[in-house]
């Protein structure tokens, strides 16, 4: 791999998915892209990278962008965001949303554990809130991940990470050596491909946004643009959830942290009044 190859790859990734490739990521590039190089008939990853510069084959570019995403996730990751939803968000919306419908968006859902955790959490809370319904849309840039999410098929290792056994028994069936989430949970989540750099407003008005462990891969400018666009989509009394290592502080005042509620943010109405409708980061129609 020449420095020029890596530089070109870094620019491509930043433009396509916002990913900032840190310094000295040769090993990461090698391990993530070797399968694609093999599949596409290149002698090695260096060969693949050179062709990215010279051939601009969209299919290969897509595969490369997808392969370079980090998809680490698990059921009820960090636990608190799901407990908070149940104990702090549901009671508020039970009063303010007469229809009972709450629109939730998981903005980088990876292989589906996050939206399915929300669906299972709601199922458990149903007895307490019989009229409430979560309308969950889960999106990601990775088609590979979305396929798996939609199939709802998990390995034994994956169903043991974070998922209490009673919930597993209730919501999964064993299919050979894998575990498949129930049709009821699959129907509770709509999966769709979406790039956070694009115009997101097609999703409409949202009550809750989960945007966890994805902004960490972006630079400050991209974080800001994504968050500010989310602020225009979130209901004025809605909630934003970020990952445990993430914050809005120092990035934008479109949101402010909720005191005592780790990872939860609300709209900062004063700042939002002056916020111009934000534009997508990438030109419409770009692949």
């Amino acid at each position: 791999m020449t420095p020029e190859d890596i530089e070109h790859l870094a620019a491509l990734l930043k433009a396509r998915s916002g990913l900032i490739l840190g310094a000295d990521k040769t090993y990461l590039i090698e391990s993530r892209l070797a399968p694609i190089a093999r599949k596409e008939g290149f002698a090695n990853v260096a060969g693949l990278l050179t062709s990215l510069r010279t051939r601009r084959d969209e299919k290969i570019i897509h595969a490369v962008v997808d392969a370079m995403t980090t998809n680490e996730t698990f059921f009820f990751r960090d636990k608190t965001p799901f407990d908070q939803f149940k104990s702090d968000v549901l009671p508020v919306f039970a009063k303010s949303r007469v229809s009972g419908d709450i629109k939730v968006w998981c903005a980088a859902c990876s292989t589906g554990q996050e939206p399915y955790s929300l669906a299972m959490m709601m199922d458990e809370a149903r007895a307490q809130y019989p009229r409430m319904n979560l309308d969950i849309t889960a999106t990601d840039i990775s088609e590979r991940c979305l396929e798996k999410a939609q199939a709802g098929l998990y390995t034994q290792f994956e169903v043991q990470r974070g998922l209490p056994i009673t919930m597993m028994v209730k919501n999964f069936e064993k299919v050979d050596e894998m575990w498949r989430i129930s049709p009821k949970m699959r129907q509770a989540v709509k999966f769709r491909k979406m790039n956070l750099l694009d115009d997101l407003r097609g999703l409409g008005r949202l009550d809750v946004i989960y945007c966890r462990n994805v902004l960490i891969y972006f630079d400050l400018e991209t974080k800001k643009r994504v968050l500010e666009q989310m602020a225009t989509m979130l209901a004025d009394d809605g909630y934003l959830f970020l990952g445990a290592a993430e914050t809005v502080l120092g990035i934008t005042d479109a949101f402010k942290p909720l005191s005592g509620m780790r990872g939860m943010y609300v709209k900062n109405m004063a700042a939002n009044a002056s916020l111009r409708p934000s534009m997508p980061l990438r030109a419409a129609g770009a692949a």
Partner: protein
């Protein structure tokens, strides 16, 4: 310091579990089958039991049924840890009073997460 009784007929598994549990600040006791485990519990009830299913002399589920009839036998939190990974085994374990269920193979992350789930850590 909380105590955990590790019940498994494999010495290797007991050793692996011991290392993980000691790192989680547990005092670890070992038993190689259900009968040994029951004797250990009668002598002193542990806070937790990590329990294999298939073992010679007395299997895990029989041990659990006996344990729950002992004086103070409802106290220990029992977590199964076994290669039996079908829903009927899991359901039976939960019905008999197990709190969590680990399907082998397992690692430190899974064990830690499951112990957290049941409030042991």
């Amino acid at each position: 310091m909380k105590t955990c009784l590790v019940v498994d007929d494999s010495r290797v598994i007991r050793k692996v579990a011991r290392r993980i549990l000691e790192n989680l600040q547990f005092e670890v006791l070992e038993a190689a089958d259900g009968q040994e485990a029951l004797d250990a519990c009668k002598a002193a009830m542990p806070n937790a039991v990590l329990l294999d299913w298939n073992m010679p002399v007395m299997d895990g589920i029989t041990f659990l049924k006996h344990l729950r009839k002992e004086q103070g036998g409802k106290d220990p939190i029992v977590v199964f840890c076994t290669t039996e990974n079908d829903l009927s085994h899991i359901t039976e374990a939960l019905t008999e009073g197990a709190s969590e269920y680990i399907m082998k193979p397992f690692d430190g992350d899974i064990l830690e997460a499951k112990f957290q789930e049941v409030g042991l850590i």
